[in-house]
């Protein structure tokens, strides 16, 4: 993946969250405050605008850092700092590499997960985006360890994210707004986990990985 592949990822993610904004917002209305889709459409829209301003010949790392900064600056809510931090951490981890390989991307994805965990304090089982992201990173790493290339690993990550998201349904939330509902939060898909699925699906889409 080179810099324009990474830019394509962000653009594709923006498309997917915008197309699904209503569903994300509805998920958030059920156990949160009904703005998750709106937040991400605004934040990723800003990220796309930021990409347009990057100089030619930029690096993958700078693409992710630039997108992450824009997301922090424009999203608001819990998801803005979390996704923005995830992308910035991943970008920093990529360093100056012009075309990171499957392993390097794996390291960056894990750094993104760590960033979300540190900032938000949520662990697996707390019914947040962490459940989807952790499952995605594990699936990605397992695929790479099993010899898969980047496209196949990305597809594995998307599938993993979907499973991780699905697993949030029965959980009682312990972080984020849904936690205020206590036991009433069970039985609902976490909106942030649902949007994480879209971000990983966007990665699989642009790398063309088969499931």
């Amino acid at each position: 993946m080179n810099a324009s592949d990474f830019a394509a990822w962000i653009r594709r993610a923006a498309e997917l969250v915008t197309a699904d904004a209503e569903r994300l917002t509805a998920l958030d209305a059920a156990i949160g405050d009904g703005d998750h889709g709106l937040n991400l459409a605004r934040g990723f829209g800003a990220a796309v605008t930021a990409l347009d301003g990057l100089p030619a010949g930029t690096t993958p790392g700078k693409v992710l850092i630039g997108a992450g900064r824009a997301i922090v600056s424009k999203t608001g809510g819990a998801s803005g700092p979390l996704y923005g931090t995830a992308l910035r951490r991943a970008g920093k981890t990529l360093g100056d590499a012009a075309e990171p390989d499957a392993a390097a991307l794996g390291t960056a994805l894990r750094a993104a997960l760590d960033g979300v965990r540190e900032l938000g304090g949520a662990g697996e089982g707390d019914k947040t985006m962490v459940d989807a992201l952790a499952a995605a990173v594990t699936a990605y790493e397992t695929a790479v360890d099993g010899g898969a290339g980047l496209p196949a690993a990305a597809r594995a990550a998307a599938t993993g994210a979907a499973e991780g998201a699905e697993a949030t349904v029965p959980m009682v939330a312990r972080k984020g707004r849904a936690s205020y509902l206590g036991p009433r939060s069970a039985g609902h898909l976490d909106p942030g986990a649902a949007s994480t699925v879209l971000l990983l699906r966007a990665l699989a889409d642009v790398t063309g990985g088969e499931g």
């Binding site: 209305a29 009904g34 605004r42 819990a78």
Partner: protein, 332 residues
């Protein structure tokens, strides 16, 4: 949607334009998305910055002014402000004595304010202290959860810390009194209807007229429990019992807020205050000061929230100090 708006996604900016026109004592920077006291920064005075999602008006923008906030950063409706906004507000009010961030305990607010404080310290060399308000007893407090929500106590914190800052107290003292007010305040809210976020266009939840939600927050979210709609006696007793169970009130001098959520007539808020005042008297609690009205709202939600602060003589003195903001004013 029964709303007076032009474009649902520009409602906050449009409202800020109205706020600017209505209150010449405020400096509204539409570009930066912040509302600042016209006389800020005041050299040597600790700056007070708060903010959060819009839709809770008059909180926070209506509490900017002499003796209360120096700046507010309104986010989109029910969405925390972004770090850039908070940073701009922090820089605009820093008079060299540091800035206090008053943050309601919602993950989004906490994270965005944390990033902004980091930027302020690292890039702008501004000293920032943060107080996180978490007074809502409907939510269980635990280190394994997001903790309690910040609700009505925010008004008390902003007023009392604002009064101390106005006297020229240093940052640690202002932060300490803000934390003290938060620790001495508990709140509990009840909803009789949902509300509609303009950009979403539909109610945040469904609720039959014969039902109510107990233990709500201020973001149109459902509460902890849905029960049969009760009388004013039942609603107020549920709220005060929950507060008293968490922080025994007997023997205290208190400051009490009976807060309309936005869609409940003032007439009914006074009915609720009447019940609250009897309940408190019956339970050996003195009300030194009270406030009845829609101060911390959730758009047009019907319902009310009760906040009780156990005062000290010093907190009472600071509460009584002059304040001049669009929504709270006395003594000048």
């Amino acid at each position: 949607m029964r709303k007076i708006i032009n474009d649902p996604v520009k409602v906050v900016a449009d409202a800020l334009r109205g706020l600017a026109a209505a209150h010449p004592g405020l400096r509204v920077d539409l570009e930066a998305g912040i509302v600042v006291r016209a006389d800020a920064p005041r050299s040597g005075k600790v700056g007070l910055v708060s903010g959060g999602g819009s839709g809770h008006e008059p909180l926070h923008v209506g509490f900017v002014g002499h003796g209360m906030l120096d700046a507010a950063c309104p986010g989109e409706v029910f969405t925390s402000p972004v770090p850039d906004q908070i940073l701009a507000a922090t820089a605009a009010v820093d008079g060299g004595a540091g800035v206090l961030h008053i943050v309601k305990n919602y993950t989004g607010d906490v994270l965005n304010f944390r990033l902004a404080a980091d930027f302020a310290k690292d890039d702008e060399d501004i000293e920032v202290a943060t107080v996180v308000v978490d007074d809502d007893v409907a939510v269980q407090d635990s280190t394994y959860t997001a903790g309690r929500r910040g609700t009505g106590a925010t008004l008390f914190v902003e007023k009392i810390a604002g009064a101390l800052a106005e006297e020229g107290a240093p940052l640690e003292a202002v932060a300490a009194v803000a934390r003290e007010v938060n620790e001495r305040t508990r709140s509990f809210g009840v909803a009789l209807s949902p509300c509609t976020v303009p950009a979403a266009g539909r109610p945040t939840f469904e609720l039959d007229p014969g039902e109510m939600e107990l233990g709500i927050g201020i973001h149109g979210e459902p509460g902890r429990e849905r029960v049969k709609a009760g009388s004013a006696n039942e609603i107020v007793t549920a709220a005060l019992t929950a507060i008293d169970a968490d922080m025994p009130l007997r023997g205290s001098d208190t400051l009490v807020l009976v807060n309309g959520m936005g869609g409940t007539p003032l007439l009914e808020q006074y009915v609720a205050y009447g019940v609250a005042s009897s309940w408190l008297a019956d339970h050996g609690v003195t009300v030194a000061r009270s406030l009845v009205g829609p101060y911390v709202t959730s758009l047009e939600m019907a319902g009310c929230m009760i906040s009780v602060c156990r005062l000290t003589p010093e907190l009472l003195r600071l509460w009584d100090a002059p304040v001049q903001t669009p929504a709270l004013r006395w003594g000048r």
